[in-house]
Every structure is written in structure tokens, then in C-alpha cells.
Amino acid sequence: MKSATSATPGKPRLTTSAMIASIAAEGQKTKPAPFGNALVELARSRPEVVGLTADLGKYTDLHIFAKEFPDRYYQMGMAEQLLYGAASGMAAEGFMPFATTYAVFASRRAYDFIHQTIAEEDRNVKIVCALPGLTSGYGPSHQAAEDLALFRAMPNMTVIDPCDAHEIEQIVPAIAAHHGPVYMRLLRGQVPLVLDEYNYQFRLGKASLIRGGRDILIISSGIMTMRALEAAKELAGDSVDVAVLHVPTIKPLDHEAILREAGKPGRLVVVAENHTIIGGLGEAVAALLMRSDVHPTFRQIALPDEFLAAGALPTLHDRYGISTAEVARQIKGWLR
């Protein structure tokens, strides 16, 4: 049964989340359009930066760039293959295109174009995509549960899964400083602000220990780092001490930091990701540990290998185990 709206006693029945729904919890601190604003900032000093989109400028925060630099903004129409082929052509002419759409359309519809015209030719294109993983309630058409697996498998591609607004602002100049193709998952609109409290600084290709802890090591990327930090607070109430290693760069993976943290004895290692259990951060970490003869007790929190339901995001995140409450519950279960 697909329906996610079957009533649970005592819980209000929610409706399918709007396409532009924020993933921020009610009352959570947020910042508007961190990508769009950071890109405008970058573009002031980098005249080669151009913005391209396929009929999703407003839905990827690129409209902010368009307003500031109308002559550097290219509306390519609802044509994702053209979008990425043309981005390659502009990069060949020395420009640095930031080309936006939804993650499903870049990863699934335009994959060959990105593979051949951008990755194989090593073009300096930044592929920035909204609705990564399970951040849309519209069903599989808009849920990019496998985007990381697909782009990880592509040679030359750098793959980034940011946690919050604070990190996105730092990623934009960092990927501009890196010459080559990048796939970046985008959180748009009112984006949660989390990592500013941890004195966090993004570094391309580097994982970052956000908090230490004796009992559990959560290795996470994207919004699951936010969830892991919330779950860590909850578990602290049960005297479970949780460390969180944030891995925003999925590829190239920070082997050194992961092996260092996962190699510390006595901790359960949990990889948490907003992505199908196949081919994402969890399997990347598992393979790394196996190859390196590091064998902690290992668990994964990830989306199941199935077509996900339509519905309200809070309902879906609970149902598929990536809400804060579900992260904490699963970890407690593994500790028994």
C-alpha cells in the first residue's frame, strides 16, 4: 500500500506538502534563499559566472541572480538535456555556468548529457538541484532518492550534499574555486540555519566532526546532519552520548576523517542519509571500511529501495525513518 495518509490515532492528518514547502520545522531558525544570495555575491567578483535554468528559476532561487544580473541569466525552457548541453557549450567558451533544475530531472532525464558533454569533457559546470532525496511530497516524479548514487558513479564529478543555509553560503564560493563539474544538492526558500552555532566552516572534500560522543558515531550528510544533531540532543537525555561526523562532500569522500572516527573502538557506527539505501553515503562508507579492515558495528538510516509515497513531508520522513524522532528511535533499538 502506497498511501501515506492513513490516519494514525491522535495525529492530525496532513495534506501533501506544497512543491515549495520548506523542510524547516515549525519555529526553526531559517535564512531565505542562501544559494541565490551567495551566487549574486560570487558573481559580483566573477564575471564569468552565468546562471542557466530549465523553467525552474523561481524554484531554485536562481531568480535572485536573474534579478541582479538579467543579462547573465539564461532561461532555457523546460528542456533539461538542452540545459546541460548548452551549459557545457558555455563552459567551453570560458564561462562558469550554474545550471539549475530539480534533482530528478538532472539525474534521471539529463544523465547522458551531463555524463558526455560535462563530465567526460571535464567542463566547469555547477549543477545545482532542488528537491534532493525525499524533500518533496509529490511522489517519485519529484523525489530524487537516487541522485547521489547516480552522480557518484560518474567520473570527474564532485558531489555535495549540504546541511543548511550556513553551509550553502560557503559552498558556492568553494565550488567556484574548484575547476570542474560539480553536482550540488540544493535547499531553497526558507532554509534551516543549524551549523552557524557550531562554528562550522565548509571545506571541499573534507568531513567535519560537529560534536564528539562516546557511544555512537553518526556519519551523515545533508539534512540528516541536522536530524542527527537533534537526535543527539534527544539521546543525551537517555544518557547516550552521540558524535556526529558531517560529510557534505560525498565524492571525493574524506577517507582519512571517516577511518579515523569509525576506527575508534567501542562506538556503534550509523550512517544517516536522505537517499536510497543503495549507492549513497552509507554504501560508500561501508565499502571504505571494508577495504580498510575497519569493522565497527555498522547500521544505516536511509530511504528504502522502493517508490516512495506522496504525502506531507513530516508524515513521509516519519514513515521512512529519517525524521529526528525516527533516527533516535532506531538508534535506541540498536543499543538494546
Binding site: A79, L82, S88, A92, F95, T117, E120, E121
Partner: protein, 281 residues
């Protein structure tokens, strides 16, 4: 035309013959290749490289060159033959065609070969890249133009039509596309795979300036290039070249039409001989 001035430059028909010879020699080296396509497009390539395009053989990435995007990567044997004739690739490399470590792989890739501006092979990519290059050149205020060659079979790909609409929408008058209509794709005659006629009407309706010519009539091809280059309206332009597979080698022209024609080991020398005989007649 190449910027290096040539006194007593060979005629276009000599250029086309030399391109055909280079292609046949590569085919002989490998014992295979998309030779029928190479022979059909040699006249168009001769006009592109020795009449229409600006480039510097000694500087393949010269900023002010005209770009040439080979969308149908399996025509690489033809483009290498033209690049050798143009002096961009040394003739001696012809012997390496298709061998390990060669700069001349069977399917054209930008990362391997000087003068190869895109990685083809997956059909339908070129025109989208051309749109981006056209936009980029305009943004830079460049006078360079983007030429892109693709095959009639590629018209089956939906992305081609995205790019057709886009090029007209963005008024890319610096974009000159060439379709090789040889009516042959992998599974048979192109028009039987997915009908694409009436092509002139279709492309004009899409906002393009269109010239359709016999792609093996050098004078007609020259006229088509001249007309598309000098056309004053702000719109993309396209040459539809109707060609004959195997052109220039009568026994290959007669051979049963096939996407990948079979040439026996002893036939390469015969083909070269027929080409030369035809040239003398």
C-alpha cells in the same frame, strides 16, 4: 578558410579527394570504419574547412577560430581525414587510427584529438552544445561561428528539437548546422525508422534559415555555405545536405546500403584506385 595564405592552393575538388583518400587509408589501417559515411560527407567537409571556416592549423584552440562540433561521433574517420588535410593533425598519425593509445579513436572525443571540439558517440548531443557555444560567443562579443554536423538519424532524438527551438528563440545567427541526409541509420533507411520530411518546411517553421542541396555537388555546397553565412536575419541557419553513401568509389556507392558497410581486406586498395580513377576521368 585557413588563415595561412596559400599560393596555388589546391581546388576544393582536390581537397575533397584528399579527404576521401585519408579516410580510405584509415579504413585500410583498421580494416573497418564508417567509410561510406566518410565518403558521403567529404565534399561538405572540404567546403567547411577550405572555403567557409576560419582557423589556424598550428593553433587548434585559437580563440577567434570558428568552432566545429561533430555530433555524429562515428563520423570521426571523416573529420580526422579533414583535420589531416587541414594540417591540424599530422598525416603520419593516420596510421594510428583506432589503435590503443592513439589520438584518433573510432568515435570522436574532445579529450583525445586536436580540432575535435566535443565528445560525440551518444547521438543528439551536438546541437545543444552548439547553442551554449553560440550564446557564449555572443556574450564575449566574438565574431566566431559555431558549425555543427549531425546525421539525419539524429533527428529522431528529442533533444535535437529542444535545441532547434532554443537556437531560434535565442536568435543564434552565429550557429550554422549541417545535416547529412544519407537516409541510412543503424536499423535501416532513416525515413523508414522515423519519418522526418518535409524537412525544409519543418525547420523553417522552427525559425531557421534553411538551404537544401546535393551534398556531393561542390558548387552547390559552396553556394549553400555562402548563403547561410551571409544571411542577414538574426536566426540560426542550417544546410541540409543530401548525400550518397560511398560517394567517389563506385563499387561502394553500388553496395547494398548499410549503416556499417563491409569492406573486404583486398578492397581498400581497389577503393583507392577507383577514387583516383574517378578523379582522372
Amino acid at each position: 578558410m585557413s588563415t595561412s595564405s596559400l599560393v596555388n592552393a589546391p581546388s576544393l575538388s582536390q581537397r575533397a579527394r584528399n579527404i576521401r583518400r585519408n579516410a580510405l587509408r584509415m579504413g585500410e589501417v583498421q580494416g573497418q570504419g564508417y567509410i561510406a559515411q566518410a565518403l558521403d560527407i567529404s565534399d561538405v567537409l572540404a567546403v567547411a574547412y577550405f572555403h567557409a571556416m576560419r582557423y589556424r592549423p598550428e593553433e587548434p584552440t585559437w580563440e577567434d577560430r570558428d568552432r566545429f562540433l561533430l555530433s555524429n561521433g562515428h563520423y570521426a574517420i571523416a573529420l580526422y581525414a579533414a583535420l589531416i588535410e587541414a594540417g591540424i593533425i599530422p598525416e603520419v598519425e593516420l596510421e594510428t587510427y583506432g589503435f590503443d593509445e592513439s589520438r584518433l579513436p573510432m568515435s570522436g572525443m574532445a579529450s583525445y584529438t586536436p580540432g575535435m571540439e566535443m565528445s560525440g558517440g551518444s547521438l543528439g548531443l551536438g546541437l545543444s552544445i552548439a547553442v551554449g557555444m553560440g550564446l557564449g560567443l555572443k556574450r564575449k562579443g566574438s565574431k566566431s561561428r559555431v558549425f555543427t554536423l549531425f546525421s539525419d538519424g539524429e533527428l529522431d532524438e528529442g533533444s535535437k528539437w529542444e535545441a532547434m527551438m532554443s537556437a531560434a528563440h535565442h536568435k543564434l545567427d552565429n550557429l550554422i548546422a549541417i545535416i547529412d541526409v544519407n537516409n541510412q541509420q543503424a536499423d535501416g533507411p532513416s525515413k523508414q525508422m522515423m519519418g522526418f520530411e518535409p524537412l525544409v518546411d519543418k525547420l523553417e517553421a522552427f525559425g531557421w534559415f534553411v538551404r537544401r542541396v546535393d551534398g556531393n555537388d561542390l558548387d552547390a555546397v559552396v553556394a549553400a555555405f555562402d548563403a547561410t553565412i551571409s544571411h542577414p536575419e538574426p536566426q540560426p541557419r542550417i544546410i541540409i545536405a543530401d548525400t550518397v553513401m560511398g560517394k567517389g568509389v563506385p563499387f561502394l556507392e553500388q553496395r547494398e546500403k548499410n549503416h556499417f558497410i563491409r569492406v573486404e581486406a583486398h578492397e581498400w586498395k581497389l577503393a583507392l584506385a577507383e577514387l583516383d580513377a574517378g578523379d582522372r576521368s
